[in-house]
């Protein structure tokens, strides 16, 4: 079994959590969200920006815009609302399946001329990150991560890597918008790539957007990576959580820790091969120790 040393050296990385938002959208509601993704106080987007976007991009973008609205209206004095130097890390789970199925069906019947040129930029692993970066003018690095059931952990690990171990300090990324998305009930598609109607248990696209900051100021909580010693971590977690539920639990923990510090440490997420992630109150934020 993995063990987590309690000494200072076990903390491999940490960052602040400035704000977050969780959005859940049934498949049937996504067209409306695509046309009008901006909530009150959430800023503006270029006209029809999401018209070719994958469903997970639409819901992920809405989550970012809601989190920005929360930040702007939030109680934390000095809270940053200019995100132009931030990077974006997205962590979708199998993005683009609906568009890909439709595109393959057209290709099968009509040949290459029918293939949409949008499938590459809009259905790739980094499409959410690219869209958020472009739409909101964020000039830090933008990358996609994972694409599979371990997306939440992989995306958070990549975010912590960029914030803690990137280029020299003068060029360090000050913050990352982290966006994790997944379907709760993947849509079933017909042979033309159209989602099949389900009167019960409809597919729901779930997204959480979190502003992670390198600095500890003006944040309610911290995300901490604890590194396990030796090669003792299992390759896979013993009990796999459904990606949508993992996102919901993470968002719930973020909300809880903002309102009640007593829940600190109840959320953890195993990262196979390295250790685990935990949330702690900002008052217990780790200090940086210079390397010997």
């Amino acid at each position: 079994m993995p063990t987590f040393p309690t000494s200072d050296e076990s903390v491999g990385a940490a960052c602040g959590v400035a704000c977050h938002a969780l959005v859940e959208a049934p498949l049937a509601d996504i067209p409306q969200l695509r046309d009008g993704p901006v909530p009150p106080g959430g800023g503006t987007l270029p006209p029809r920006f999401l018209r070719h976007a994958d469903e997970q991009t639409v819901v992920g973008m809405r989550a970012v815009l809601e989190a920005i609205a929360v930040r702007r209206a939030g109680p934390i004095a000095g809270a940053e609302t200019d995100f132009s130097t931030y990077g974006v890390v997205s962590a979708p789970c199998q993005p683009g399946r609906v568009a890909a199925a439709h595109s393959f069906a057209l290709f099968g019947s009509g040949g290459p001329v029918t293939v949409s040129p949008h499938i590459v930029p809009q259905c790739s692993l980094h499409s959410i990150a690219g869209a958020v970066s472009v739409a909101l003018g964020m000039h830090g690095p933008n990358i996609g991560t994972s694409g599979g059931p371990q997306a939440l952990g992989e995306g958070l690990l990549a975010s912590l890597t960029l914030l803690n171990t990137g280029p020299a300090a003068t060029h360090a990324t000050p913050g990352i918008w982290f966006v994790a998305t997944a379907w709760d009930g993947e849509p079933a598609l017909d042979r033309e790539g159209r989602p099949q109607e389900r009167s019960f248990d409809p597919p729901i696209c779930v997204a959480v957007a979190v502003a992670l900051t390198a600095a500890a100021t003006a944040t309610a909580s911290r995300l901490v990576l604890r590194v396990a010693a030796g090669c003792t971590m299992p390759r896979q977690p013993k009990t796999a959580t459904r990606p949508a539920d993992a996102i919901r639990r993470f968002a719930a923990a973020l909300s809880a820790i903002q309102s009640n510090a007593d829940v600190a440490g109840r959320w953890s997420h195993t990262l196979p091969g390295i250790g685990e992630l935990r949330l702690v109150p900002a008052v217990a934020a780790p200090r940086r120790r210079e390397a010997a």
Binding site: S84, F107, V134, T145, P272
Partner: protein, 411 residues
């Protein structure tokens, strides 16, 4: 509670596993690049599109992992083309570095740059008559399958930034090593050709339509360029801290000395004509490496051969390097390899390592008439012998991703 600052110890490259249109492995690829060989040729993309003459830069053969990895032929064959490419590159990189994951009890990480793994797997299944794309499912990703097959016990992550994907994989891996989270890390990426991907890029008007002589189609920086040529393959590299590599007596190909990253935040597809952010990534990489523009001996350009992108990159280089740009040889090896998309950035790091190893700059073939809008010190047609200690490699991708890596001869 404190967090240790990342180490500043150099991170070096000790193993290369590369499968490409120019051949497999470091020596064959270096030979091909410096000889000005082209991997571009006419291809048969399958019955559905056979009426169109198509060309690309395909991989001829994917070598299986060396014996001793416990992978039988059936398991390897069952991985699919993308899985076989990844597994082969990672295994051969480890062998080249002299690492034995199962026996050495090292925490070896894996970072793969794969821009659209799921699209490739669904496409392959669909073309074989399957229905995977239509059915709800949630399968594990290749990076975890490869890590499991090759007994890698460290963290494993897939990253994507379109054509810069495998370069970001190297940047993440360097971060893990500097943080001390892994003992060694394999990082890189690859891509495979597929008919719907070819069609999508063609319909996007991003591909060259010069089908009369495929080997002449990829012509970065040339006045008559008309788009890029898709290729497949890529590279995976073993990264280690320099002290560990020296302790093991490893061959050190070079040091991953600098990383610069930025986003244009301008358009999802079209390259940004304003070079500011691309130049910022280049400047950031030089600063991170602690070097000045005048110290660069070679730039491997992203230059895919698109009319807008090549001009934008020339502007970014001029803005970032200033007057020193006139004395820095610049070439695009995509003129020979085609554009390996997700695998391009890592493959082009191999091209930089080849320049350092052979003390010669690989050429831009087909550069008959340099575009006056791209005023650089080009290396047309044939390699140029020169001292090469410090190199820079640019990668730019859809979504406005900019990446520059500085690779230098290990001290």
């Amino acid at each position: 509670m404190t967090v240790a600052s990342p180490s500043t110890e150099p991170v070096v490259i000790t193993g290369v596993g590369a499968v490409s249109p120019l051949g497999n492995g470091f020596a064959a690829i270096a030979d091909g690049l410096l000889a000005g060989c082209s991997g571009v040729r006419a291809i048969d993309p399958g019955a559905a599109v056979r009426e169109h003459r198509q060309f690309a830069a395909p991989v001829a053969e994917i070598p299986p992992p060396p014996e001793g990895y416990g992978l039988d032929d059936a398991t390897f064959a069952g991985l699919g083309r993308l899985g076989r490419l990844c597994t082969s590159q990672v295994a051969h990189a480890l062998v080249d570095a002299g690492l034995r994951p199962a026996a050495d009890r090292l925490r070896i990480g894996l970072v793969l740059g794969l821009g659209a793994e799921h699209l490739k797997i669904w496409e392959s299944d669909f073309l074989a008559g399957g229905s995977l794309v239509f059915e709800p499912h949630c399968d594990d990703t290749l990076v975890h399958r490869v890590a499991g097959l090759l007994h890698l016990h460290g963290p494993a992550v897939t990253v994507a930034a379109a054509c810069a994907s495998s370069g970001y994989a190297l940047a993440i891996a360097r971060g893990w090593l500097r943080a001390g989270w892994v003992d060694a890390c394999v990082a890189g990426g690859c891509d495979v050709l597929g008919p719907t991907g070819l069609a999508a890029f063609y319909n996007l008007r991003a591909l060259s339509r010069r089908s009369d002589d495929p080997a002449l189609a990829s012509r970065p920086f040339d006045r008559d360029r008309d788009g890029f040529v898709m290729g497949e393959g890529g590279a995976c590299l073993v990264l280690e801290r320099r002290s560990a590599a020296r302790d093991r007596g490893s061959r050190i190909y070079g040091e991953l000395a600098g990383v610069g990253m930025s986003s244009d935040a301008a358009h999802m597809v079209t390259p940004c004509s304003d070079p500011t952010e691309a130049a910022r990534a280049i400047s950031m990489a030089l600063c991170d490496a602690g070097i000045t523009a005048g110290q660069i001996d070679y730039v491997n350009a992203h230059a895919a051969g698109t009319p807008v992108g090549d001009v934008a990159e020339a502007g970014a280089l001029r803005l970032a390097l200033g007057p020193a740009v006139d004395a820095v040889p610049v070439s695009s090896t995509k003129s020979m390899s085609g554009h390996l998309v997700s695998g391009a950035a890592a493959f082009e790091v191999v091209a930089c390592l080849a320049a350092i190893d052979r003390q010669a700059v690989p050429p831009t073939v087909n550069l008959d008439h340099p575009d006056p809008q791209c005023p650089l010190d080009h290396v047309p047609h044939t390699a140029r012998d020169r001292r090469v200690h410090v190199t820079a490699s640019n990668s730019f991708g859809f979504g406005g991703s900019n990446l520059c890596l500085v690779i230098r001869r290990a001290a």
